[in-house]
């Protein structure tokens, strides 16, 4: 600010140049996803055999839906400046196992209630440790991942649960409108609802402002602990729904269902242009990020590229996307 009051001529030109560069970089890191997704889909349609087939498109939707639902929910934690929630791995698996196992014995509504209780417990532990104890979110959720998975394996005995062949879960898992399965419609509804929650409500505003400036939000009279617990609760409920969708798709559930979801969801969020530095981002962009990551994975699978390379690609993608964001910030600060 002080520099702007009295810039010399030379300074002004370098400043405008660097601000133009900063503008370009920031624009790229936030909106590049539109271009990249379009290019990727075009590329896939032209060069990858079988990408455009109806069966493949349905398959992409099927695979994108649970990851996408986790990602749109986790966007809240990322925007609040708390990096990510690793424990979605445990949350997705817990929800799936509870849904199948409990509904086999007691019916579907007790199952949903039990899963909701588990999700709230996750959110409460994560949110309290991060929001009230100000502990590091990565370490806290690393701990709760292992606690959650351990408890799940203890109670489930690590076995696979099969749903009945013709229950409501199976009907939902197989149902689709045209090429779009029900699970993808759930993803779209979740995106719209959570988008409105983030952009139009007081809670969403507080999550974003907490990500920009924590102490200012607190000094403004907000109970920041509740905001953080709320952000983790949104993530937990989304992870629960993702677990339901995943379990319904295969009509089975096992305690390692959610492995890899934290990375894929984070990749989608970051590629979508939500900043890991907090405060900036949107649920709708995360949705685009999900499409990008899913299409990319699908192209790799169709081209016969092994699982290892897919992981390398996603890891590199995360680091590159964050680098772009970090460089934009650096240039803007200069």
């Amino acid at each position: 600010m002080a520099q702007q009051t009295a810039p010399s001529a030379a300074e002004a030109t370098t400043q405008s140049e660097s601000s133009r560069l900063a503008g370009t970089l920031t624009w790229m890191s936030q909106n590049g996803i539109f271009i990249f997704t379009a290019i990727l889909i075009l590329f896939a349609l032209i060069f990858v055999d079988g990408f455009g087939s109806l069966m493949n498109i349905t398959d992409v939707f099927h695979r994108a839906a649970p990851i996408g639902i986790v990602a749109v929910g986790m966007t809240f934690v990322v925007i609040s400046g708390n990096y990510l929630d690793l424990s979605v791995v445990a949350q997705v698996a817990t929800a799936g196992v509870i849904l199948i196992a409990v509904s086999n014995n007691y019916g579907i509504f007790p199952a949903i209630l039990a899963a909701l209780a588990a999700a709230m417990l996750f959110a409460l532990v994560n949110g309290t440790a991060v929001g009230i104890f100000k502990a590091n979110a990565v370490i806290v959720t690393l701990a709760t991942t292992f606690i959650g998975l351990g408890l799940l394996r203890f109670f489930s005995g690590g076995s696979i649960f099969f749903g009945p062949p013709d229950g409501p879960i199976r009907t939902f898992g197989l149902g689709k409108i045209g090429p779009i399965p029900y699970s993808a419609i759930v993803l779209i509804i979740m995106t719209i609802v959570l988008g409105l929650l983030l952009n139009r409500t007081n809670f969403g505003f507080l999550v974003r402002s907490f990500g920009v400036n924590e102490s200012a939000t607190r000094l403004g009279g907000t109970n920041t602990a509740l905001v953080i617990i709320g952000a983790f609760l949104v993530t937990a409920v989304a992870a629960m729904i993702a677990g339901f969708v995943l379990a319904a798709f295969s009509n089975t559930a096992v305690s390692n269902d959610g492995v890899g979801y934290e990375f894929r969801a984070l990749a989608a969020i970051i590629v979508g242009g939500t900043s890991v530095f907090g405060g900036r981002g949107s649920v709708y962009r995360t949705f685009l990020g999900v499409i990008f990551v899913s299409v990319l994975t699908n192209i790799l699978v169709l081209s016969g590229i092994s699982f290892g390379y897919q992981q390398v690609a996603l890891g590199v993608l995360i680091v590159l996307a964050v680098s772009l964001d970090a460089l934009a910030r650096k240039v803007a600060q200069r």
Partner: protein
């Protein structure tokens, strides 16, 4: 560190005052409490874990060696999540090279390279180390799968592996000896060598460190190279002991090594902590794990115990407790204010 801050604040002399001054300066308090508690519990319930101390020492070395390297990074307020995959990649590289010595060297160099890559993204590009190393964690896990064709690679020279598992001096296996050497080396480095002591300054206040002429970026490179190298060393040791390299190795090490470093009192925002603390943390977890294994508790259930300890460790940090007191005060004040307004 100690000599520069002993002004004014606590002038009470005599033995008691000196003890109090030392206690307020040290960070290992919670680690010692946990270790004492675990030793008492284990001595009462499962004394076999203490009498079979060679097994317990081996377990402590397994957890502790990665934690020691990690501590160097945590002292600077950074985090290296990629250690788990570095361990796997180093093991696979070592096993896929027929010549043993060449394989070990290649694996250790790979660890250094991973450290340089991590440090580049953290220091030069300016990404938060949690996210940067999460990306490399994922990418390297994939690389381990690619290099090993998604199957465990068995070591060519099986005899070396078997010899490596035998006790060398008394009951001490080479793994334990290497662990002790790494402990002494890193302890001397951060407490006696100027470069190592500067880690505390970089972690305590990065801008002040920069103003004082400390090459902060260089130190970050050093720190990540230490943690990468030590993780690769752990990978080499694992591969030798098991005579195979598993591309999925190390996923449980991640939790245990972080838990060891954090229980040991290493402050995650940097600047405070000690290598001795990490040793205490590793010792507590090692004894606990062996005791649980002897009593027939399965590994996933053991992870619950370690997870709970990590969660407690990270929330009973002095700053965390201060934060809780702060929020309680605000909460009470806001309660008191409501009737007036």
């Amino acid at each position: 560190m100690s000599t520069t801050i002993s002004l004014g604040a606590d002038e009470s002399t005599g033995t008691w005052g000196r003890i109090r001054r030392t206690a307020s300066r040290r960070t290992e308090g919670r680690g010692i409490v946990l270790l004492t508690f675990i030793i008492i519990m284990v001595a009462l319930l499962e004394p076999l874990a203490l009498t079979a101390y060679d097994v317990t020492l081996g377990r402590i070395a397994l957890i502790g060696i990665v934690a020691l390297g990690l501590t160097a990074v945590i002292l600077m307020g950074e985090l290296d999540l990629s250690v788990a995959s570095t361990l796997a990649v180093a093991g696979v590289i070592m096993a896929s090279i027929p010549d043993l010595a060449l394989g070990i060297v290649a694996a250790l160099v790979a660890g250094l390279v991973v450290g340089v890559i991590n440090a580049f993204f953290v220091a030069v590009i300016g990404i938060n180390s949690f996210i940067a190393t999460l990306g490399t964690l994922f990418a390297l896990r994939g690389l381990a799968f690619v290099l090993s064709n998604e199957a465990p690679v068995s070591l060519e020279n099986k005899d070396a592996g078997i010899a490596f598992g035998q006790p060398l001096i008394g009951p001490l296996t080479p793994r334990i000896l290497i662990f002790i050497l790494v402990f002494i080396a890193i302890q001397l480095f951060v407490s006696r060598v100027k470069t190592g002591r500067e880690f505390f300054a970089v972690g305590g206040n990065r801008q002040a460190a920069r103003d004082a002429g400390i090459p902060v970026n260089k130190r970050i490179f050093t720190g990540f190279m230490i943690s990468g190298f030590v993780a690769a060393l752990a990978g080499v040791i694992n591969t030798l002991e098991r005579t195979t390299a598993d591309p999925t190795a190390g996923s449980t090490v991640l939790l245990a090594s972080f838990a060891a470093a954090i229980i040991g009192g290493n402050y995650l925002k940097g600047g405070r902590g000690s290598i001795v603390g990490t040793l205490i943390g590793a010792a507590s977890l090692g004894i606990l794990q062996v005791a649980l294994t002897i009593s027939g508790v399965q590994v996933p259930i053991q992870q619950i115990y370690i997870g709970v300890i990590l969660l407690l460790a990270v929330t009973t940090d002095p700053t965390s407790l201060r934060a809780v007191r702060g929020s309680l005060r605000t909460f009470r004040q806001s309660r008191m204010k409501t009737p007036d307004s």
